[in-house]
Amino acid sequence: MIPDYYEFQNSVKILSGKNALENIPFELYNLQASRPIVLTNEMLEKIGLVQTVIKSFAEQEISIGAVYTDIPADSSVEVVNEAARVFREQNCDSIIAIGGGSVIDTAKGLSIVITQDTDDIMKYMGSEIITRKKHLPFIVVPTTAGTGSETTLVAVIANPKRKVKMEFLSYNLLPDVAVLDPRMTTTLPPRLTASTGMDALSHAVEGYTCLQKNPLSDAYAFAAINLIREYLDRAVENGKDEKARLAMANASMLAGAAFSNSMVGLVHAIGHACGGVSQVPHGDAMGILLPWCMEYNMDKLGELYAQLLLPLAGADVYAATPAENRGQKAADTIRQMTAKFNKICGLPVNLQQAGVKKEDLARIAKTALNDGAVIINPKESEYEDILAILNKAY
């Protein structure tokens, strides 16, 4: 189905495969940059991943201006401002972000501060209000395969003083280059691999079904799910399987591009709230909530879920399932995946296992209602609807 109107942008250049990292200096040269700041976190530096990237600069004329590692699990305005101070002090001219969602969000925040020449990013909070003032070369090297931040237009940055999570949505936040090198994810433990993989799956499923879906985002989402079906198990069971790691990095990137353009819905609205209220890791929440939210949406989105059974379960299962049962079968397939990862590496299958207290469900439901993703979900969801989903997922 063709929408009456849609917009789509994915301008990120993808470098995918063995020795992709070694091409970063060329890409900087191509973007006319010569002194990047590297944003990452202490853990990634400790396990040597940052060194792997920096080594790729050996014998190159480009020098690294600064390596900033003080980035916590949740990006904050203070961290962004501190990184901006270092960026300016060291006369940097570009950004390389090495990490997961938090590092990449910090890099997007830094990009706002530098390109808009501001000390107050709160002014740029909202949707599509950041205009392109000047171009700051921006390269991302993801170290998890889930957030898809390397191809998304969104950044979430906390403002602890005002106790708010600031959301920034702008096509001008898209990086120039995403580098998918299997070396960057082979050290990811099975539990985290499964959790981030379910995050990528939720991006693809919601990207395929939300209000802004369009033929381009559909293609990205479908391709992502195919890769997840084929390779997520392998990546969880054998982290050193570079082919599986590269496939999952691609799945995450594809799903990121899909949801960046079609946006995410109810699963993410509730998942964000589970993280905010009860500190449930995002991917864990996605794995738990996805089938329950699909069942909630089934009367409205059953046909689309039925189409997703093909990439989710493969041609044989799709063909053997009667058309009217395919939507439910898609939800069941995801539930089976979570159950399997529960056995292999302890991925939680319900909110209780994820550490949520029953008495927090009401607060989670109320928080979810104010999430921007609610409006994008094709089926209306009010407080009672969300609370009912949470109770089922508990």
Binding site: G126, G372, V374, I376
Partner: protein
């Protein structure tokens, strides 16, 4: 443009009226920060509609843009605004189609969207709300009451 101005007047006066009579809108407004102002504008030249929370109540402030609104919603052009303002397209669909930009806290934006849904339930006939809303909320009072309060309240 004149039609858009008229609809903005109706929306502004309407939300002020509905907030007095519908407990759900009152509840939403109660959560907004004190002194919160919200602006709706059609780019590039207007019109503009502003509501302001004063002493816990929502007031329609006419068409002058506030100094520093907590939330500003800008339709990109009149062509994108008219279908929304005349009940041909829902707010959610318009957002999905990038018809407007939003400056400020998206959470507050969601609260405003919920208020607009409720207001539309009172101002538009059911055959329209069925088309533009994902779910039509129950009315707490009659539409006539909201219309009278909008026009004369």
């Amino acid at each position: 443009m004149a039609a858009a101005r008229l609809v903005f007047w109706f929306l502004g006066r309407g939300v002020q009226a509905a907030a007095k009579h519908d407990s759900r809108i009152r509840q939403e407004v109660a959560e907004w920060s004190p002194d919160c102002s919200i602006m709706l504008k059609i780019n590039p030249r207007g019109p503009v509609m502003t509501v302001h929370k004063l002493a816990g109540e929502i007031k329609y402030m006419g068409s002058s843009p506030p100094q520093d609104p907590e939330l500003a919603i800008y339709f990109k052009n009149i062509e994108g605004a008219i279908p929304v303002l005349t009940g041909q397209k829902g707010l959610a669909q318009a957002y999905a189609e990038h018809r407007f930009t939003l400056k400020g806290d998206i959470g507050l934006g969601m609260s405003v969207v919920r208020c607009m849904y409720l207001l539309e339930t009172y101002l538009f006939p059911k055959f329209i709300t069925r088309k533009i809303l994902k779910r039509v909320p129950q009315k707490e009072v009659s539409s006539l009451k909201i219309y009278l309060a909008t026009l004369f309240g």
